[in-house]
Amino acid sequence: MDKLTAESAKPAVRHENPLARALAEKLNYDQLTNCMRCGFCLPACPTFKETGMEPESPRGRIALMKAVADGLMDPDEAFQEQMYHCLGCRACEPVCPADVKYGQLIEQARDSIEDHADHSVPVKGLRKLFFDGVFPHRSRLKWLGRSLGFYQKSGLRRIARGTGIMRLFPEHMRDMERILPEATARGVVERIGAFYPAKGKMIARVALFRGCIMDVLFAETNVNTVKLLSEAGFEVVIPDSQVCCGALHAHSGELGKARELARSNIRAFKEAGVDYIVSNAGGCGALLIEYDHLLHEDDDWREDGAWFASRVIDVSRLIAEKGRVPDFAEPAGEDGRAQQLLITYQDSCHLRNVMKSGGAPRQLMNRVGNVRFVEMADAGSCCGSAGIYNVTQPEMAGRVLERKMDNANRTEARYLLTSNPGCLLQMKLGIEKHGAGGQMEAMHIVDFLAERMAAGKS
């Protein structure tokens, strides 16, 4: 007998299961319907590339979401896990001719799961600790930076490793511990203050979004970002009351928390009266640029959300398109002659797919004297870092990273540049685990350019 069913109107399904009900309510049914199931997203999806299995593709995940909303399947544990298998890299969005907002759908699905799942997905506790306990609070972040820095510097790290106590942690946590840069409680403001004037004639006044992780683990990159902006003709302010962007929260289904953070940030930056809000982390920037979407149902904040979103720009793009691009050159070697340096670039998914700014970093890299930029195969495909994905889904993250490193190694580049702290850590991990010959080093593009800026001037 034919089992064919017609798919049509949003069915008046009575969902017994509270999670199914939440999903049916929260998922944007228009977006679910807009998916034509043409499959054009499949070759862009890292988890589909790894497994070749339809449920691990954007088309598959949308079909699963729709099936739950239509009452065709239960949002069982496998369904919930599948929603977290997605890296959230959003490489499927630019290739979708129908313009399906997949990123929104996956966030809505995760939001429902966070609110209504009976049983916890494996890492829920860990996430709660960080999302509610640490990221939103500056003072606790500083404390974390200080403690971590103390652990790293004091010899405790050596002792911990020496005693083998690290072996009690899962392998991927041990890997992470090894590649974490020196943490600090002294962020960018503590180092250079909250204001930095423009060199030469001022082009615009901008505010730096310093980020939470960035300011603890990569404070130096924040300092370099300010110096680079100043050199390119921008006056920089760093509003002190800014908080975490909320990206990790939003991508993990904590939309309420993300909205709270967004409102705090909008307040902080509105007071600063700036032309642009500059981000140097693709992951943060992508959420900042979508604050309008995040708050579009909030009547009191909709306009401010749009005000904020329209000013957000990535540091590379601002300099390449609006600034006076400084002279960059490879510093001379010991013999006084600059060697030609090979570099390659790992796209930040969110910078490329959401902020649509994959071109600007390349423009800047190509402006550096004595440097040859080599594009690696599949540079735009996710490295597996994906927020905290490499902690929550270590197995898949590991597979994605291995593929990435094969491509990176083939370029034989000396530097592997990125535009996002998560990618940078992941690339450091990749080089340590799968690097060829120990030649390669991962670096944030801002740090790389800042070093070459000094050389360019001399």
Partner: protein, 471 residues
């Protein structure tokens, strides 16, 4: 439900990971790219070799379980929707290029290889595999063969059927057959190769294919001709063919299609034009120059508003890619896009376009039209919303008239998408009772117990009226 004993044996053949019957896998294999159709399979299996496919078929035959083989399920005829349940066999793991034979100019591949990956590989040898279906970035070669996919270059180079010269396939019984081979000529008996091409997975499961390769053209030029008058564009098509020029590509896009395609690909197309022809010619540099000049003259004689030749290869590629995304991009207008596949003799393109627009107006529905104008293969596409029952009904009425018009003009019910589920009730209308009888006899010979993709191609009832919505 698959019999537990059968499931156990299937698992033993492919390994635990590669046989699934969990809810997630079943839902994710219940559809293809055809709008509004969905039906659950009972299991999903991912074989990795011909031997496995053969063993699987023995188990399925023994238990009388239907099987639907598929690549990426990007077809548009409902061809891979498991309407009668059974096992969906996904060919993705069988995706190797087994050989590129530079002496014979052939390639032998497994069915799961993605078309675009295959053509890129072939180009690295300085060779050319012309079939280029719109979905080539995701469709598989096996799927192309099963559906006899057309493409943008069909006009000059033909379609998939013109490049497949040998096949390996597994019968419903599990027996393996080989047809054709690295031979340009072979008249030993019935041509089973051609019979399997376009058989939509109803006769056997293709496990290996030998493909003919050709030397690539030396030069290529791509141009756009833009019209304020829709019929001027349609008439240009006939005139180009009449003047004995066969372009490599001759595509037609009407205004709604131009708009959505531009919105997706950001090409800067003129949004106020009624129609665009996307024309490509390849061959020797002198011939290409001469043909492009002559085509330009013809376009101008039909009052083209502007004629532009793409300055770079990248620009040309962008145009072609944009055209390939036309169908899905139409979903930007309304959530449901129902695409049809009306094909008429190419001298009738102008008449057909005229009729489609009249019919759409009469039924108060929006129908965008684009397609391979040079082949006479148009894709009138209704942009609608499945939730609006009344509108869907009017769309049905409109398509019924469009098909009648197509047959009246000497055309057919499907030019390249296949019969599958959607066109099954109309097959007899096209091929006649005797033709249908022969086809059913062939099916019986290959698959006596009707296990291979049941419910496709042959419908229980024959219809003349098009019904786009089932259930």
């Amino acid at each position: 439900m698959i019999h537990p004993e059968a499931a156990r044996r299937l698992r033993a053949i492919v390994g635990e990971t590669w046989y699934r019957d969990d809810q997630e896998a079943l839902v994710a294999h219940s559809y293809d790219a055809t709008p509004m159709l969905q039906s659950m399979p009972d299991g999903v299996i991912y074989p990795s070799s011909t031997e496995q496919v053969s063993e699987i078929m023995k188990v399925l035959s023994e238990h009388g379980i239907p099987v639907i083989s598929r690549g990426s399920a990007s077809n548009l005829c409902g061809g891979t929707v498991p309407v009668q349940g059974g096992v969906v066999m996904v060919m993705h793991r069988m995706n190797r290029i087994l050989e590129v034979d530079l002496e014979n100019l052939t390639a032998t591949v497994q069915p799961g290889i993605i078309t675009a990956e295959f053509t890129a590989h072939i180009e690295s040898f300085g060779l050319f595999y012309p079939p280029d279906p719109g979905s080539m970035r995701i469709s598989t070669i096996g799927g192309n063969i099963a559906e006899c996919s057309g493409g943008l270059r069909g006009l000059k180079y033909g379609t998939t059927k013109d490049y497949v010269i040998g096949l390996e396939a597994v019968l419903a019984s599990g027996e393996v057959i080989r047809t054709g081979g690295k031979l340009m000529k072979d008249v030993a008996g019935y041509d089973l190769t051609k019979l399997l091409i376009g058989s939509e997975g109803t006769l056997a499961i293709i496990t290996e294919a030998t493909l003919k390769l050709v030397p690539p053209p030396k030069a290529k030029k791509t141009m756009l001709a833009m019209y304020r008058d829709l019929y001027g564009a349609a008439r240009t098509v006939s005139k180009i063919i009449e003047s004995r020029i066969i372009p490599a590509t001759l595509e037609f896009l009407d205004n709604p299609t131009i708009r959505v395609v531009d919105d997706f690909a950001k090409l800067g197309l003129p949004l106020d034009m009624e129609a665009i022809l996307l024309i490509e010619q390849d061959g020797d540099p002198e011939t290409v120059e001469r043909d492009i000049a002559r085509i330009t003259e013809i376009c101008e004689s039909e009052h083209a508003d502007r004629v532009e030749v793409a300055a770079t290869r990248e620009e040309a590629e962008k145009l072609l890619t944009a055209r390939r995304s036309a169908l899905t991009a139409l979903a930007r207008l309304r959530p449901t896009t129902i695409l049809e596949d009306a094909t008429v003799p190419r001298s009738k393109i102008a008449d057909m376009v005229l009729r489609i627009n009249e019919i759409a107006r009469k039924h108060n529905v929006t129908i965008a039209t684009f397609g391979h104008a040079g082949d006479g293969n148009l894709h009138p596409t209704a942009t609608t919303d499945a939730r609006d029952r009344d509108e869907i009904h009017r769309v049905e009425e409109a398509f019924a008239e469009i098909f009648e018009a197509s047959i009246e003009l000497g055309g057919t019910i499907t030019g390249e998408h296949g019969v599958g589920l959607v066109k099954a009730p109309y097959l007899e209308w096209r091929v006649g009772p005797a033709g249908l009888g022969v086809m059913k006899g062939i099916k019986q010979a290959f698959d006596p117990h009707n296990l291979l993709n049941p419910g496709k191609m042959f419908a229980k009832e024959t219809r003349k009226r098009v019904v786009v919505q089932h259930g």
